[in-house]
């Protein structure tokens, strides 16, 4: 399976993503520069973390107008897999490919630490190798990760099982203390209605090796590699 890791100016987790994915059996990951306009030949698109365009104005606000974005949009429409991690999630929200928005952390500080995530649904191409209720230990690192959406949108997300990950305690309890940024309903990751576009603030790309403290992030990419999965 061929992954495109899209490099925006200011991306800084591009290497971490490329290496963690490329190391998986059956996966190969290549960089695609944001000035490109085609994603032909790629099965999955990764929008990595970082500070695209310095995150000036709003995180992802400028990147979403990059030359590559129409191709990302088209790939999403074709049903190809698109995952946005951290800044990538922010870009996908700004581009309207995912509902809601990510705003300044409630405590106003950048926060870098481990978080525990409860898998809310295994019915996505990104979590099909998990079981609903599984707890993943994956770190966050962001200043603007507070997920926000209006009440209707939230209701809809919950109704359609589009909330994929929530911040919880290690034991799976949803609590304010477990929420690193004040996200509504402790939401850490959501997918679109068609379930082929997924955004999350935590960094699975930073949790694929025991030496880094956790391997729990790998299951996200392994799920994407699971060709036998049909929605």
């Amino acid at each position: 399976m061929k992954f495109a890791v899209i490099r925006f100016p200011g991306s800084n987790c591009d290497q971490d993503c490329q290496r963690s994915i490329d190391a998986l059996p059956g996966a190969s990951a290549e960089y695609v520069w944001h000035k490109e306009t085609s994603l032909a030949g790629y099965d999955a698109m990764v929008l990595p973390g970082g500070f695209s365009y310095g995150d000036y104005l709003r995180c992802g606000a400028i990147a979403r107008f990059s030359p590559i974005m129409p191709a990302v949009r088209a790939a999403a429409a074709e049903g190809k897999l698109v995952i946005g991690i951290c800044n990538g999630f922010q870009i996908l929200c700004e581009a309207g490919l995912l509902p809601g928005a990510l705003v300044r952390n409630e405590k106003l500080h950048f926060v870098c630490r481990d978080t525990w995530l409860r898998v809310e649904t295994a019915e996505t191409p990104f979590t099909n190798r998990c079981a609903a209720g599984d707890i993943l230990k994956i770190p966050v690192a962001h200043g603007e990760g507070r997920y926000t959406a209006d009440t209707e949108t939230l209701a809809e997300l919950n109704a359609n099982g589009q909330v994929v990950l929530r911040y919880t305690e290690a034991n799976g309890q949803v609590s304010p203390a477990a929420n690193p940024n004040g996200s509504m309903e402790n939401i850490a990751g959501v997918c679109n209605a068609a379930r082929n576009v997924f955004g999350l603030m935590p960094h699975p790309d930073r949790a694929t090796e025991q030496r880094l403290g956790s391997e729990d992030g790998r299951v996200i990419f392994e799920s994407m590699l699971n060709l036998s999965y049909v929605a």
């Binding site: 709003r58 809601g100 928005a101 209006d150 004040g182």
Partner: protein, 81 residues
């Protein structure tokens, strides 16, 4: 010509920065402050007057780039000098 865009968080969106500033102001003893909301302002220098089309385009840019309608509202003022 000059255009000024003010972008404020929607009333429905929690503004912790505003709250933090309010608390700081109170701790400095200005009790008269009831609430503060913090937004962005963009001062734009224009090479010349905008025709209707240009103004429409500027509104589109405010809507799509300078603000995020999910969480923010914007005000656009165009003025000579």
């Amino acid at each position: 010509m000059k255009a000024t865009v003010v972008v404020m968080p929607k009333a429905s969106v929690l503004d912790p920065q505003g709250v933090a500033v309010k608390n700081a102001v109170h701790s400095l003893g200005l009790a008269a402050v009831e609430s503060i909301r913090v937004g962005k302002v963009m001062e734009i220098e224009l090479s010349g007057p905008l025709d209707a089309a240009g103004e429409k385009q500027l509104h589109t840019i405010c809507h799509e780039l300078l603000s995020n309608p999910v969480i923010e509202d914007y005000r656009l003022e165009i003025s000579a000098s």
